[in-house]
């Protein structure tokens, strides 16, 4: 592209839109072009920047960093958590730090898209494709338990349904079919119109098996109210797809005990037609964290380093660690567990010293012993991230800042140790 340089990357969600233009005046952003509202609100930086504090009192970054090192040094079983909103550089540093400290390391994928990403990285699912492939080829797009119109606003317009693509030149109304399967009539379902299929909660597996039956020429059966004709109709669209894609949202992942049903469906679909599978990942670099940890340890989350050993399992998930009160300090990086974890579990965080590294104030930072403000990645500092489909995206800062990146903060903590 002739003027690629003028474009910036939005880091407000894991589509990492790379066609954003900005206007600046005196190092502040005065105009944002092409980013959605969600993106603009991140790019315009925090409403409430986080102050640098120690025990609730203002302090300087140097003191905060050495105090952090002190706490971590004394800690016997520290937890490092977050990193979905950090650059790959910061993630790699955090992994190093966890090794050095014999710490537990986990991220939000532990209670969201983790199982799916794991299956992809393990090669258990090899039906994946990139978003660019979807734009160029896909004629049938299925959103299952996902509502990108809210979570990833430009998903449909930049990649899946609306844009023209190499082999999809005629426009969405002729060339593509978008389908929504969900427990509620979401905004995305509304766009899908007649191709929106409502199912009761927890019935995803039943529908999967009914679809497999229909695709095998058997009569589909479900225990809930859904017309056989509707199921056959859906199966028929899937069967006729030249290039189909299923985007799995949390709705689908949460309703399944394991990954088997999805594998069954993907296998069947690829017997009768041509189908791909992709998870709808939320935080802009959650996939990056999973991938970097996987490269290092063979696991995507829930690890505990012990000397040169790596332990892994449910017992090392943030939820279990806090429930069992087995950790004695927590370093939270770019995440807000007080807000995202169930109250009864999050409460246990209050009993241990918390150190928060974040650009913005959060519920967790208000309860933290130490707060170290970091540069907002993608806006105030550059780096790289892994898009939801596994593609690496590099980005430059949009404006300058005196704040240091979380990568640099972690590096300095390690220096102090």
């Amino acid at each position: 592209m002739e003027d690629e340089d003028k474009y910036n990357v939005c880091t407000a969600c894991s589509i990492l839109c790379d066609d954003i233009e900005i206007e600046t005046e005196n190092n502040s952003i005065t105009g944002v072009y092409t980013a959605c509202r969600k993106g603009v609100s991140r790019i315009q930086t925090c409403n409430e920047p986080m102050p640098c504090t120690l025990d609730g009192k203002d302090t300087d970054v140097d003191t905060a960093i050495s105090e952090t090192a002190n706490i971590l040094k004394k800690s016997e079983n520290p937890l490092i958590f977050g990193l979905g909103n950090s650059t790959e550089g910061a993630q790699k540093k955090a992994i190093e730090l966890a090794k050095q400290l014999n710490a537990n390391l986990d991220d939000t994928s532990s209670f969201c898209q983790g199982p799916v990403v794991e299956a992809i990285l393990n090669g258990e699912i090899n039906y994946t494709c990139t978003l660019d492939d979807v734009r160029n080829n896909a004629d049938v797009i299925v959103y299952w338990g996902a509502d990108p119109a809210n979570s990833h606003p430009r998903h449909l317009s930049k990649y899946t349904y609306f844009p023209r693509g190499k082999y999809r030149q005629k426009g969405y109304d002729e060339d593509r079919t978008a389908i929504a399967i969900d427990v509620r009539e979401s905004s995305t379902a509304e766009i899908c119109g007649n191709n929106s299929y409502l199912i009761p909660p927890q019935k995803d597996e039943e529908l999967i098996d009914a679809l497999i039956d229909a695709l095998s020429g058997k009569v589909p059966k479900v225990s809930f109210e859904m017309n056989k004709k509707r199921i056959l109709e859906l199966a028929n669209i899937l069967k006729k797809a030249k290039y189909g894609v299923i985007f799995a949202g949390l709705g689908l992942v949460y309703s399944l005990d394991n990954f088997e049903p999805i594998k069954r469906l993907m296998d069947k679909l690829n017997e009768v037609s041509n189908f791909y599978f992709n998870p709808m990942i939320g935080h802009y670099n959650m996939r990056g964290f999973n991938q970097n940890l996987f490269n290092e340890t063979g696991y995507i989350n829930r690890v505990k380093f012990k000397d040169s050993e790596v332990k892994h399992g449910y017992e090392y998930s943030v939820v279990e660690l806090l429930k069992n009160k087995s950790v004695d300090s927590a370093l939270i990086i770019g995440s807000d567990p007080m807000c995202s974890l169930p109250g009864s579990i999050a409460r246990n965080l209050n009993k241990i010293p918390i150190i928060t590294i974040d650009p913005c104030e959060t519920l967790t930072s208000r309860k933290s012993r130490i707060n170290i403000p970091s540069a907002l990645s993608g806006v105030e500092c550059g780096g790289s991230a892994i898009r939801m489909d596994g593609v690496r995206v590099n980005f430059e800062p949009m404006i300058e800042t005196s704040k240091i990146s979380d990568e640099e903060i972690l590096r300095r903590v390690m220096e102090e140790l």
């Binding site: 959605c36 609306f162 995305t188």
Partner: protein, 152 residues
Amino acid sequence: MANAMEIYQLLPKTNCKKCGKSTCMAFATALLSGELRLDDCPEILEDKYKQNYEKLSELVAPIENASETGMIIHEGKCTGCGNCVVACPVNVAEDPKGTGIGLAPKNDRVILKVVNGVVQKGNIHNCRRFGENKILCNACIETCPTKAIEFV
């Protein structure tokens, strides 16, 4: 709001046909529907009709504005998703390498684009709903997840 008779009374009433309509009354109706604009009548632009021209301008201003900006964007509802931007057939035709393939616009000929997280309209005269060969295009309305676009 003006009616056709009021408008007709202020026109030259010569049925000159230069506007493409067979009578001044037909021109008055065309003005009302937004199909033609006051300046499409060459005679009314002559000096001797100056006063009438001014009165007529006032009368048709709301109509002409409505045909220019009959599109209403409810900014509070718009999420900036860009569906309308990418679906608009004019955007696709004018900007096949930008909005047509889902990317940022590559030129200024597009009708819709997203600025500061909200859709913004420009070149609205190119919209398929206006002009001589107008059609009832719904692309920007039906692709919007929040019903943020409306035409009046």
